[in-house]
Assembly symmetry: C2
């Protein structure tokens, strides 16, 4: 399998996802920007704003290559001289505080045309956690993982708990999902199967998101709910700028800033020492932002 085949399938996945989300949102469309990276490669960044459901969202495809610079070696712990990387990344920020943020990423990395690996992840960040919807999300992820290896879901779920975590807040980003990295062919899986797993995740994204929203449509929100959404969005900003590997990779490999920071919410608020009211729904959400919770 050539890296150009993977790149083409990733680009197809991006087009599929945006077409599905457009027809569902119904009022907003994705704009596409093509960009080139001076050192090699480029991408297509698709963005949407002010839709029926989505306030700000992006589905980015990129395929970049070039020299592994000293900065990349130091900051990204890469060994080798030449890299190729392709991936699809999505973050959707809904208008309504009762609808969740959802993120998905699949990526393929090659060094010196010898080593390669895949990575991927999908996670759900409700502003208000709904147990039923969190369970539905995890069940769907398990059924996708189970097509490939019966241990993947539990391994990748635990990995997501560790990865989508803000140590300085002692909070998970949301109700988790799955995360994996450095996955290459071995006894139990071929390169084609790993690619297929990545594509299954990508193609499941639109229906996973619709399922979170369509089953629970809400009336207008209160200013208090909007404030809480902005507080949760500020934590999303903190995670992405302090910890997210894709953001770091983009910044340190001299990627396109607007495509890297596509994940930023439309707005965020910081209050000093914000506290939730006892027994409020906001407090109930905070109490569930913990590692190791089972949703099955």
């Amino acid at each position: 399998m050539k890296s150009s085949d993977i790149k083409n399938k990733f680009r197809d996945a991006q087009l599929y996802i945006t077409a599905e989300l457009e027809s569902w949102d119904g009022i907003a469309f994705f704009n596409e920007d093509q960009w080139n990276r001076d050192e090699g490669g480029g991408g297509f960044t698709r963005t949407i704003a002010n839709g029926r459901i989505i306030e700000k969202g992006g589905v980015a495809f990129s395929a970049v290559e070039g020299e592994v610079t000293a900065l990349m070696k130091e900051q990204l712990k890469l060994n080798g001289d030449y890299f190729f990387a392709t991936g699809v990344s999505i973050v959707l920020h809904p208008k309504h505080p009762r609808h969740p943020i959802m993120h998905m990423n699949i990526r393929y990395f090659e060094i010196d045309q010898e080593q390669y690996w895949f990575g991927g992840g999908i996670d759900l960040t409700p502003h208000y956690i709904n147990d039923e919807l969190a369970t539905s999300f995890h069940q769907s992820l398990k059924s996708i993982c189970d097509r490939y290896n019966s241990e993947y879901y539990s391994t990748f779920k635990a990995w997501a708990d560790d990865y989508f975590y803000l140590p300085h807040r002692d909070e998970t980003r949301g109700v988790g999902g799955i995360f994996f990295d450095h996955l290459s062919a071995g006894k139990s899986i071929s390169k084609e199967q790993i690619l297929s797993l990545c594509l299954d995740l990508a193609k499941a994204f639109p229906s996973l998101y619709k399922n979170q929203v369509d089953r629970f449509l809400f009336p207008d929100f209160t200013p208090k709910e909007k404030e809480w959404q902005n507080v949760r969005r500020s934590r999303y900003v903190e995670f992405n700028l302090l910890h997210d590997r894709g953001t770091k990779f983009g910044i340190y490999s001299n990627g396109r800033t607007e495509s890297i920071l596509l994940s930023m919410p439309p707005s965020a608020e910081w209050f000093y020492d914000y506290s939730t009211l006892p027994n409020s729904e906001e407090e109930q959400t905070i109490l569930k932002l913990k590692k190791g919770l089972s949703y099955l």
Copy 2:
């Protein structure tokens, strides 16, 4: 000079600054939180919100000590076993988009009671750059630096240009100021003089800020100006979470999160690929966010 003397003088500087800012703002007061760090030391965090001028601000004092952990060695490049660090940090976010954000930090660091150094910095981030006010700010800093060494201003000004810089935006954070680090006694300056320089900077802060505001009082702002303020605030967030050393030190030394993230603005907005109108005041500001501009 004992480290406890430095700590006491830093705490006094915090109290002086907050008293001055309170009497000037006139309607809001600082709240004080005392906190302790499990591994040693603690601090007093003073915060203000919804004042006449200041929407959200903080003046933090801390004095922490303890083991230099493996994480601190790796992430902060510290050599040694035991550290002591004390400092005062300020960030003020004004309500009005025509008033600037201002930041100041002074710090003293000791390793194994042998090595020590001081650091400091002050920088001005107008949402709309006003040349006259930027010049006034730099002139005041130069006059403080000149009391100690005629080369400090130009050296520390260039250091600030390099430090308060967002590579992924190719923008400086604002109109700069001064920055220095790892300053210890030598032929041309004693330890007492460096401390005195730090304290001069801290004590100048209230009048420097008042000067930015009182000379230019504005009527109500437009929604467009507020939006632009929120865009500039998003860049402030990016700088602090991606680059700021104080934030990194706080996070990696297991400091108190709410005190570390005191610098966050009350709100921020991200638009995909935001662009300014040709010849607008917003564009004029962007064009001046460059290193190496002289304000004298």
